[in-house]
Amino acid sequence: MARAPAPPFPVTAYSVGNAMGATTGEVIRALESGRSGLRTSRADPDIEMVAGEFPGELPPPPASLRAYDTRLVRLALSVLEELVPAIEGAVARYGAGRVAVVLGTSTGGIRESEEAYARWRVEGRLPESFSLVLRHSFNGLLRAVRGRSGAGGPGYVVATACSSSAEALAAGRRLLLAGLADAVLCGGADTLCLTTLRGFRSLEAISRSACRPFAAGRDGLSLGEGAAFLLLERTGEGPAWLLGAGESSDAHHMSHPHPEGLGAKAAMRDALEDAGIASCDVDCVNAHGTGTQANDRIEAAAIGDVLGDRVPVASTKAYTGHLLGAAGATEAVFSIAAIERGFIPESLGASPVDPEIRIAIAREPLRRPVRRALSNSFAFGGANVSLLFGVRP
């Protein structure tokens, strides 16, 4: 039996930062001008590869949050800063206890743990700055963001690998639906680290050059680092509304997508049903589109089955790199920007498109009204999330 559509909630503010720029304005301008943030990187000192490093020096957290100091926390707080006035407004309106925080990350503070482990190998002891509880664990990021934002409601990290921060938005929306919060700071952050750089290399999934999602000659993904935050509120106005969230599990394999895209299709259909929106009313799709052979082929077929072959589809991974736990929130911001600015970005690197991919990949930027945009995030463990954003219903 089809369930009744759930009420939409406004995204009243957002911020984003990644290899394209340290501020929201810089990132959106780079997206509109088709400028990638991917560069040759020494994030892994032993292996040169293309990756999306966050630009510039990241300042340390304020003294009160110094205990949580990691590159992840620096990066997250740097991107969060733009949003602090909006969060303070929500805290003033609803009370701190009614403002929740749900964040996504896939690796947390593991970059510093890797460095600590390497020091231990050489010196036989961990550096004094290492803290399992305050820096390694996901809770360090959570405490730092709660501390800076002043949000005092329920707070947790969702960690479903590459769909983490998309799921953070789905979970944050559920807190509003259940009446357990009146505003939710949702978002995600991840940094480059050996765990993912070498982990994906062990899967032979890293591209030799900048990734080219949906292209005929694609040969894998490029990794990146960044953060994005969105403020969901029970009431208010904003550039776009979260209309629906769809979630599914592939129940197939830990690191390979279901060959028929079963979970991907289920997540997209679930989002449409959740919002009470017909597939023909979706104006564009921000695809998961990592640039690996299997993921792009399977996702494209799933999009074609659910939405048809005429809706413009773009992957933004060739701008940012795959941001893993930050990808869902970042691409949610890109979907909102598409609605706000009437702009669908070029699916960078996609030309010539793989002839097996028979959907409408955006080979050039498109200027047109966008009323509804769907954003896909798929992950290890078969954890799929599709988010549907739109204009005020």
């Binding site: 600590a116 399992l132 639906l177 765990t195 070498r198 599914s248 129940a251 830990m254 979970g263 463990g381």
Partner: protein, 246 residues
Amino acid sequence: MGVGLWTPQGPRLTAAGAPPAPTDAVPASALLPPALRRRAGLLSRIVAEAVGQAASEGGADLRHTPIVYGSAYGETSAAVEMMGAFGEGEGLPSPITFHNSVHNAPAGYLSIATGCHAFSPSIAAGPETTAMALIEAACLLHHRGGDVIVALGDEPVPRPLGDTDAYPPGAVAFHLRVAPGRGARCRIGVPRRGPGQLPDLPSELAPHPCAPAFRLAWAVARTVRGTISLGTGEADGWSVSLEPAR
């Protein structure tokens, strides 16, 4: 509500709620077929064991039941094993170790084993992980109805990053349903801020990141009525109401 539990102190929750006798048994994890059991790490196996017990006791159909999995640290043995690999040879981890290192590995293995296509959130919130997992479960039940399994699990963090002897591996699971049947053990509320009782816990489990979940399981087993702390009893911590049904 059905309850499942695995610790080296005992593979099952005793009916009287008394601390069970220690055991060295490796969990059977019967939910996982042998091919998955061989690949899965210890944390995935003990979570699968606890989930299987809770589903069996509560009558959950795991093909259609989402699992809210909470862990403060996740599968750290895989993460630390990877760090060891970075300094040797090509410095690459095995692909299986890499995918076992993701926080949602236990939920992923369980979905594959049961064929469940419902999304299973995997969360972390440090010492508030149990409370937040119950909140996420309450939200899921409010939005989608039906059944949810809440599973909490952690393994000791290996040296050099952690202390292997700090606490034993352990997992506990609760089967929750919006409209409980006649066999339900109790009614559980939505976590709120406020003080609550701190049921006794075997001393080995007191420092465990999932200690609040073990306390809750013991309270359920002892048919405790009242408000149970999901922290350490602090006034502004999270707590949950418990009302025995039988």
